[in-house]
Symmetry: C2
Subunit: 255 residues, 2 copies
DNA sequence: TGCCGTGATCTGTGATCACACTTAGGCTGG
DNA sequence: CCAGCCTAAGTGTGATCACAGATCACGGCA
């Protein structure tokens, strides 16, 4: 049970960059200096929990406690509260009538519903990506694709790395569509299926290679390269449907 | 400046129903008694602000203050904090590097992006609705359609009622698709375009009748009635594109 | 032996205080 | 008369306390 400390508790260094913000606003023609993302403790806790969720390190049904989360991450209860509130709003966590917080247990019906929505939304993103994809976007995508293929073909596949490569590949495609709000929507969906998807995937490693994931990815990349929107959509839909079908066969989903 | 009091501060009455929850779980065959939604002050503040936003009563660029919101709604600062945090997470509000909270100013580019995403997502929802629509769903939809048509044709159109009828019509269609997570996504989108959309609509009333909204709605309802998925999608896409084009002509959007 | 009341403990929620920071307004010094 | 500082009010963020309700185990009654 390692203890990540989010503090960097020297607030003077943490908030330092913000002091330049007024300058940047007074002289908007000053290059560089992007809007300067706010990094509060609450946001950091949110990101930490978020990563745990989509990595499947928090199992469905697992319970959380504000005080435990706070202590584990080295903060007080307040940032944990904010983080959990946001995740509950995203339906990535749920708080029962008992006031207990846990990661939701997805039913089979809900899983199928999410899969249909994913195919529609992510399929659209892939199609748009095929239209808007630029050479450097494609290069990044190919990089992640190669990493994934390399990992699943290895003698001792590193599942964590493989899943991360898969995720990076998908989101690189979605980012190439040039619709940030769409990417945010997809992130919300992944946040909800992450636990069940990655958890089951972890339980049966070799399925990763057997499933047609690599083949679907290859078709996807090929379609993107030639600007074939419908081809990209179909390839991505097949990829999603394939992994969903596998999850269903494990039968671990609640009725 | 009326003062809505969210308290009902008699906690004993507010939380009373929860006491039946354990019984309902122990005897699951006990009819009625759905899971019993939690209603915290934070959630109520969230809903209040949310309604203000999608009704366009909070103009883009308008600033909010936690303490002001709290006082106005008759609570302390904590529930206001949670509500604002959630809305910021939804990108329905934003907090500047100065730590000032305001409703975001949408740029023209962002507006077009959101419109494209809306056409894709809501169009899909309409198509699914055409497949899954049941007679009683259709009846509800027709009711809202009639209300909207009646309102825009009146001599003295009540804009607020018209916009609400329009919103109810749209969401009745999306609900008919039977994909709750999709409805949640669309709500997030409406939360972000609500301010600019409804604000501009309010500034020029008669456009409501001139715009083809009623005609698009008619085509939409007709398509739903016969299960024509692509027809429904097209009608809804035209509706969205129409109102978006009108908004752009007002030229009020930031470059 | 089986069951129900009852207490300690832990939960999320709300209120309040403390703090660093921003911002606007009034004052002083030129 | 204007530019400059500089105080005072107001901001979100984080910590801490208070509290009602839930959970669970122990102990006593039937």
């Amino acid at each position: 049970m390692e203890r990540r400390d989010l503090h960097g508790r020297d607030a003077s260094t943490r908030d330092r960059p913000a002091r330049d913000a007024p300058d940047a606003r007074d002289r908007p023609d000053l290059a560089g200096v992007p809007p300067l993302a706010r990094i509060t403790l609450g946001t950091q806790v949110y990101d930490a929990l978020r990563d745990l969720l989509i990595a499947g390190e928090l199992a469905p049904g697992e319970r959380l406690s504000l005080r435990t989360v706070a202590e584990r991450l080295g903060t007080s209860m307040m940032p944990a509260r904010e983080a959990v509130s946001r995740l509950v709003a995203d339906e990535a966590l749920e708080v029962l009538p008992n006031r207990a917080v846990r990661v939701p247990v997805i039913t089979l019906g809900k899983f199928r519903e999410l899969t249909r929505v994913r195919i529609a939304v992510e399929g659209f993103a892939a199609a748009e990506a095929a239209r808007a994809c630029r050479p450097d976007d494609l290069a990044v995508i190919r990089g992640h694709d190669a990493a994934f293929r390399h990992e699943v073909r290895a003698d001792a596949p590193d599942l964590e790395r493989a899943m991360r490569a898969n995720r990076d590949l998908h989101f690189a495609v979605y980012a190439a569509a040039g619709l940030p709000s769409l990417v945010a929507i997809v992130e919300g969906l992944w946040l909800r299926i992450g636990p069940v998807l990655n958890l089951d995937m972890r339980s049966s490693p070799r399925r990763l290679a057997e499933g047609g994931a690599a083949a679907h990815h290859a078709r996807l990349v090929a379609a993107l390269a030639v600007g074939d929107a419908e081809g990209a959509r179909a390839a991505l839909a097949a990829d999603i449907a394939g992994s969903a079908a596998f999850i269903e066969t494990t039968g671990r989903l609640a009725p």
